[in-house]
């Protein structure tokens, strides 16, 4: 079976990407596949390394299936190949030889030992855009440091801003650094592709997950650089009354009501509470409270929490969301994934797309797009493949005949 025909004007139609990444880079190829690239994922015969990352659900045979792996491999083809074997390396080079982009997560010494260093790959395909995704990048004193998601969050600085003021720093859930590094890598791959169109040369792009995370510290870096102040974690009680995460009847809401100079939302919030007859609301009105310097004082933050807490305790998050937004106050429910499936806006826009999954033997519901390009409502082209599902098809495209393939299978290379 050849790849399903994409619309001829899919942005990346005709671009071939070899995706030889582990869990830290696999979402990069996914983003390129969404936009029409033919992304061929190369996995070792033992299985996809991204499948070591959870969450897991029971598969048809009772074995756990990683939905992280299912998520990051949507729209790809999959080839099972032992790149470390000599014949496997040859097949890999043929694959990379006809590709425009190679995404990988191997350390430089590993690549050199396999004869797949940047220069060797460039010799095989001078126009190849090579994108390396590593926790600390391909160069520098920490290039071989070991890391997982938590360690990457720490090294990049984001972990220092998360957590309650009275506890150790606490990480955001969901392996965000694996996605963040991949998002950066997809952008780097495209800049490389455009560079290649510009001057005809391939490129080696060196992506560092630590740097991707260090770019997410918002005002913390300029604050230290310009004032010497070190920003620290504040938990659910940020710097200003009206801002933060607050309990309500059935969960929590997050709010930014009035921020620095803009008092409009603050005034609207206090009016709402006053109209609802909340004790203490009247006390929060007036010019003193409209000045953010007052709202940033500790007594103001504490008093606001009491008043708003009493108000929210009798109201549900959906009700608070609707009414706050009607009053143009930036409040949102703290949703879990079940809430998301019921969200009216996402439903209206047809965001969720069911996909029959070949590995699970059941339907998985995907977020249907990252962005809308040319008004296409879904970017789902094909299900995430079973590992090695397209080995025969891709080898045939490379001109590897059936007989040769049988030999490679017998040798354990495929």
């Amino acid at each position: 079976m050849s790849p399903e025909p994409l619309e001829p004007l899919e942005p990346l139609a005709g671009v071939t990407v070899v995706d030889w990444t582990d869990h830290t880079g696999a979402y990069a190829g996914r983003l390129l596949a969404d936009l029409g690239a033919d992304v061929v994922r190369v996995v070792p015969p033992g299985g996809d390394p991204a499948a070591r990352v959870g969450p897991f659900v029971p598969g048809a045979d009772g074995r756990p299936v990683s939905t992280f792996e299912r998520f990051v491999n949507l729209n790809k083809r999959s080839v099972a190949l032992d790149v470390a074997a000599r014949d496997g390396r040859d097949v890999f080079l043929r694959l990379a030889g006809r590709a425009q982009v190679l995404l990988h997560t191997a350390a430089r010494p590993t690549l050199a030992a396999l004869g797949l260093g940047p220069d060797e790959l460039a010799a095989a395909n001078p126009g190849l855009v090579q994108v390396s995704v590593r926790p600390f990048g391909a160069t520098g004193p920490y290039r071989d440091h070991l890391a997982d998601d938590l360690v990457q969050l720490a090294a990049g600085g984001l972990l220092s801003l998360g957590g309650y003021a009275d506890t150790a720093p606490i990480a955001v859930a969901g392996h965000q650094t694996y996605l963040a590094g991949s998002i950066v890598a997809a952008g780097a791959a495209l800049l490389g592709l455009l560079g290649r169109l510009h001057d005809g040369r391939g490129r080696a792009m060196d992506v560092s997950v630590q740097e991707a995370i260090a770019g997410a510290l918002e005002d913390a870096v300029p604050t230290y650089d310009l004032t010497g102040r070190v920003r620290r974690r504040l938990g659910e009680v940020p710097r200003e009354a009206g801002t933060g995460t607050f309990p309500c009847r059935d969960g929590h809401v997050a709010m930014v009501a009035g921020r620095l100079g803009t008092a409009k939302a603050w005034t609207a919030l206090v009016r709402w509470m006053a109209e609802s007859g909340v004790d203490g609301a009247a006390e929060l009105t007036g010019p003193v409270w409209e000045d953010f310097r007052h709202r940033q004082s500790e007594p103001a933050i504490a008093r606001f929490r009491e008043v708003f807490g009493a108000f929210a305790a009798t109201r549900g998050k959906a009700e608070l969301y609707a009414e706050a937004q009607r009053r143009r106050i930036a409040l949102a429910p703290v949703n879990d994934v079940t809430d998301l499936r019921a969200d009216a806006q996402l439903a209206h826009r047809g965001f969720f797309v069911p996909v029959d999954d070949p590995v699970l033997g059941a339907t998985l519901v995907y977020p249907g797009r990252v962005s809308l390009v040319d008004g296409r409502t879904t970017l789902v082209h094909r299900p995430a493949p079973a590992p090695g599902q397209h080995t025969g098809e891709v080898l045939a495209e490379l001109g590897v005949g059936d007989e040769q393939r049988t030999t490679l299978v017998a040798a354990g290379v495929l």
Binding site: L12, T67, F71, P118, G137, P141, L146, A147, D148, L150, V151, A154, A155, S160, G162, Y164, A168, A171, A173, G174, H175, A180, A188, L191, G195, R203, A204, M205, S208, E211, A212, I213, A214, L217, E218, A220, T223, L226, V230, R231, R232, G235, E236, T245, H252, V256, G261, A265, Q325, A332, D336, R341, A344, F351, A362, V365, V370, S371, L372, V373
Partner: protein, 403 residues
């Protein structure tokens, strides 16, 4: 200086958060990015701290400077009726138009996709409305932190029984939403270079962020319950957490994924007693005794300076990193050697350091050009892009249009 995008001119209405980071990458790769703002209504970020002590005004925000490197600033008062023709002329002369306003704002200025594409069919037009251009919540308001909460990123993050946390920042604004938008935008540029065809791209910041909980959504659709907050613990590793070090409020993240790493950790901490404890020799055993395990590791980590602990553990083959503050990342020897931090000489603020792009290319080097003063490039753009004469420019400045 990178010239990959030197053929691109960007009419940029991205303010404040996510959008500004998209167009900064374009600028650092050689595009001419014309940022539209005015003294009547400056980008809010220009009013946001931090500034150097004693510096005030619209040109001294370090926050603004940290995400507008390499851009041109064109002062255009969009509230003035005469501004629209100038904006339309800039849109005709641009290859890319970007904005992150609420739905309808660009249309009211005659800068909606249909308007721009009618005169410039090959334009690539990116809008980044918070919840998309249609639907019952299209006019909802929010910030990165509320988008993160609505999108499911906050709920599973925190300690059981306490308020959910997320990242403690407006995270969607900083990596996922600008990153997702950049990927779509550059893909469209790639297609336009090859086919001449333009594109309309709409990135709902809410939808983009929901992808960050994609794996949990898939699991939920297969019947799994929503993930519950578990602090820093994860199912497949123990110890896996953040441990106190010798100095106050210093911490080291340690992630032990294998029995070999466990043995290496015990040895590196001089804890032969833990290594000898058979109950802790397996992952299942360590998970079963995780409270005690964490107390024991903390008792040892507390005696060691954080960076020394990280080095000792990495040398032993244990994944570990200091929980770096902004001060730490700025001083980080590795990031410095990699050339991540860029020293700039800002015309109003003087010397400052900003983050560079999170990748290096062996061919293209991003420049150190600082963020522009408000309106610094108005005349240059008016003359070179619009062919405006000096007298006309001065008339428009005096009339409150180019200001």
């Amino acid at each position: 200086m990178a010239t990959v995008l030197s053929g691109e001119r960007v009419l940029d209405y991205c303010w404040v958060g996510a959008g500004a980071l998209v167009t900064q990458t374009l600028a650092l790769y050689g595009a001419q990015v014309i940022k539209i703002e005015s003294r009547a209504r400056p980008d809010n970020l220009r009013l946001s701290p931090p500034a150097k002590p004693g510096q005030t005004g619209l040109d001294v925000s370090g926050y603004f400077a940290s995400r507008n490197s390499g851009k041109k600033s064109f002062a255009l008062n969009m509230a003035h009726p005469a501004a629209r023709d100038i904006a339309a002329a800039l849109a005709r002369a641009s290859t890319i138009v970007t904005s992150n306003f609420r739905p309808g704002v660009m249309d009211r200025w005659g800068l909606g996709y249909a308007d721009v594409a009618a005169a410039n069919p090959a334009v690539i037009y990116l809008s980044m409305p918070m919840q998309g251009n249609d639907g019952p919540h299209r006019d909802y308001v929010g910030f990165g932190s509320t988008i993160a909460a609505a999108a499911g990123l906050v709920h599973p993050s925190g300690l059981p029984g306490r308020a959910p946390l997320g990242t403690g920042t407006h995270y969607p604004d900083h990596v996922p939403n600008p990153g997702h938008a950049l990927v779509a935008l550059l893909s469209a540029v790639y297609r336009r270079v090859r086919t001449g065809r333009g594109a309309q791209i709409e990135l709902s910041q809410f939808e983009s962020t929901v992808n960050l909980v994609g794996p949990a959504l898939l699991a939920g659709s297969a019947g799994a319950p929503p993930p519950a907050p578990a602090g820093n613990r994860v199912p497949g590793a123990a110890p896996h957490g953040v441990f106190p070090c010798r100095e106050p409020d210093t911490w080291c993240a340690i992630a032990v994924g294998t029995d070999a790493q466990w043995a290496a950790l015990c040895t590196a901490l001089g804890r032969a007693d833990l290594l000898a404890d058979a109950r802790l020799g397996t992952l299942l055993g360590r998970k079963a005794h995780e409270d005690r395990l964490e107390e024991e590791i903390a008792a040892s980590s507390r005696t060691v300076e954080a960076w020394a602990l990280m080095r000792r553990l990495q040398d032993a083959g244990v994944p570990a990193a200091v929980v770096a503050t902004a001060q730490d990342v700025l001083a980080d020897e590795h990031l410095r050697k990699r050339g991540y931090w860029v020293q700039q000489d800002h015309p109003a603020m003087g010397a400052m350091t900003v983050a560079g792009l999170p990748f290096r290319s062996d061919v293209d080097e991003a420049g150190p050009t600082p963020a522009p003063l408000l309106g610094a490039d108005t005349w240059e753009i008016a003359e070179s892009v619009l062919g405006m004469h000096r007298a006309e420019y001065e008339r428009l400045v005096a009339a409150g249009v180019l200001t």
